[in-house]
Symmetry: C2
Subunit: 347 residues, 2 copies
DNA sequence: CTGAAAGCGCTTACAG
DNA sequence: CTGAAAGCGCTTACAG
């Protein structure tokens, strides 16, 4: 077993000082050509690589960013990670992935744990519990300490920082309008409970579309789902007790479940009921029928979030020299797109 | 903006030495009750948290493990991350996620970058390219430097280290036997090209099952897919040109595609063709018909890998004191399970 | 051209 | 009971 070699060992071996070794490896003109050559050859032979931790301590930056997501099983968050990872690597950053499991405490713990030198900045999508409690002190705290934070998707307006979102309300409006344009009048909504910011916004878009088209809002066609594990029954009741010709679901799990339930009740999609989902994930693509859906473009969103964070990190260095503080936070809106597939009736 | 406070600042503020502050915060009996109280109160007020990087440098361990996966879009790898993350956090470790994108170079780069103090150990599943090239020097190198590595799923026997696998061959054997038991004789195989270790093993299990039951191997029923993007056509040809009553696919993407193609050709699943997939992911669960599949239990696999890595990390500390080196590498086999759903005909 | 010293933020054996 | 010193592995302004 050959342990990693350090500057100190090289210095001792070659009988020069640590400074000389360090400078030689950086090809400093301060050092004679001869010494440089000697040191470099030796270092190469022993496969010297500087210790990242020592560099982090010295430079006061870790070249690591952390992304905190509520869960990883949602395909959307997976694509976010992919987008973040690629941009990070391109810029020489590593990515630490933390799962909050929709828990406020875990979110807080993760942030507190890591905000002490381990990482340079956070990318975060709030847990459900955090959105429910409306307690964002942990995020404010971190920002206050001078660590940049970028929020995406599940954000809050109570915190000032860079954000990457989609226009949830508009996207939902468009999806609903799409159904209305096809002549559907009894459009059901499968949404989440209101404290989930995106669910609320999507509900808003749905309502607006109905209103814009002078369609009456039928409250019994609106289902707000709390427990994302066992909601099939509620969907079944919804479909049994009402006349419904189309469904707008705020995520793909709800959409695919609606299709399953409909089929169980002997209603065919899209012949009897048209369905639009949200998030262009694996389910929408491979379900039968494949699902018409609002594509959120998670890769783009993740990439954008990483870009914003890294820009701010690199910017800070300059700022610090000037003593100025730049606080122009931006909110980027990633465009969405309606991907038409088999679950909506062609006209 | 309130920057993080350090021991040095506390020491200065309270007019004591850094050592005294450090010891007080650790509640050392060396320090008087009074001083301890004073320091602790002050530290609490200023929300002192030790700098992780400094601790890492001092302790020569980062409490961070890195998982390198070929891609994140495969649901299986997502579940692995989930398993790893939870065990890691439970034990006070952070998880760095790196994507090799199936590229040998990226895999090497990631390992070289991180094997210099940034992390304490690796969990890795080989990229396709690495398996094809059979070049594992980067892994050997890292192990040789004394950094533990745990390989999972896509492994190689050329490297000695801890491993977590499933018995791919046995699982494939069982799946095929399951089809044979239902009376099917013309069983097609959708596999990957042979250099992907798991594809090869699953093919082996399929062949063995046929042989064990005195069924002839019909080479034209075996499709080895290289390009996982555009293979629908090959599947279509397979289904058109042959009499096939069942299909065993080595992943869920192949399985769901087979179902789509079959349906396009007017063959119903499971009435006309039964299909078994591999990996119990989102697709298998939500596809219509839902897919009978071999569950790999990614969460368990990831959890096990993390456990093995962390055990070795904690073990090393003891070893180093003894000067002994423990090299009993283990290979854990995670049991698989056939999850029966709608895509296979009931008898 | 080379090296000693200070410093990044912490811990701990040792001295007083 | 308190603190100075050495050290983790590195960089860099400064002295010679």
């Amino acid at each position: 077993m050959r342990k990693k070699v350090t500057l100190k060992q090289i210095a001792k071996e070659l009988d020069v000082s640590i400074s000389t070794v360090s400078k030689s490896l950086k090809n400093s003109v301060e050092i004679s050509e001869e010494t440089r050559q000697k040191v470099q050859a030796f270092a190469k032979f022993y496969n010297y690589k500087p210790n990242n931790i020592a560099l982090s301590l010295k430079n006061r930056k870790s070249k690591t960013i952390c992304i905190i997501i509520p869960e990883i099983i949602h395909h959307f968050f997976t694509t976010i990670i992919s987008g973040v990872e690629h941009v990070a690597k391109e810029n020489g950053y590593n990515v630490l992935v933390c799962l909050s499991d929709e828990s406020f405490d875990k979110e807080v713990l993760n942030m507190e744990m890591l905000a002490n030198g381990s990482i340079d900045g956070f990318i975060i999508s709030l847990s459900k519990e955090t959105q429910q409690k409306k307690d964002f002190h942990h995020i404010a705290e971190v920002i206050n300490q001078g660590m940049p934070v970028v929020m995406f998707d599940r954000i809050t307006n109570e915190i000032l920082c860079d954000k990457v979102i989609i226009d949830d309300s508009l996207a939902a409006f468009n999806a609903t309008q799409f159904l209305i344009d096809k002549g559907f009048k009894n459009i059901a909504l499968l949404s989440t409970i209101d404290y989930v910011s995106v669910g609320k916004l999507r509900t808003k878009g749905y309502l607006k579309a109905l209103k814009n088209n002078d369609l009456e809002v039928n409250e019994s066609l609106i289902l707000k789902i709390e427990d994302t594990e066992n909601f099939e029954k509620s969907v079944e009741e919804l479909l049994t007790n009402n006349t419904i010709d189309a469904i707008f679901a705020v995520n793909e799990l709800f959409a695919v479940t609606a299709i399953k339930v409909a089929s169980k009740l002997g209603k065919k999609v899209p012949e009897d009921i048209s369905v639009i989902g949200f998030t262009d994930g694996i389910i929408s693509k491979y379900s039968t029928p494949s699902i018409t859906t609002v594509s959120q473009n998670g890769i783009k969103m993740g990439a954008k979030a990483a870009k914003m964070l890294i820009e701010r990190l690199e910017m800070e260095e300059i700022e610090n020299e000037d003593g100025e503080i730049e606080e122009h936070y931006r909110t980027e809106v990633i465009e969405t797109e309606l991907v038409e597939r088999e679950s909506t009736k062609k006209i």
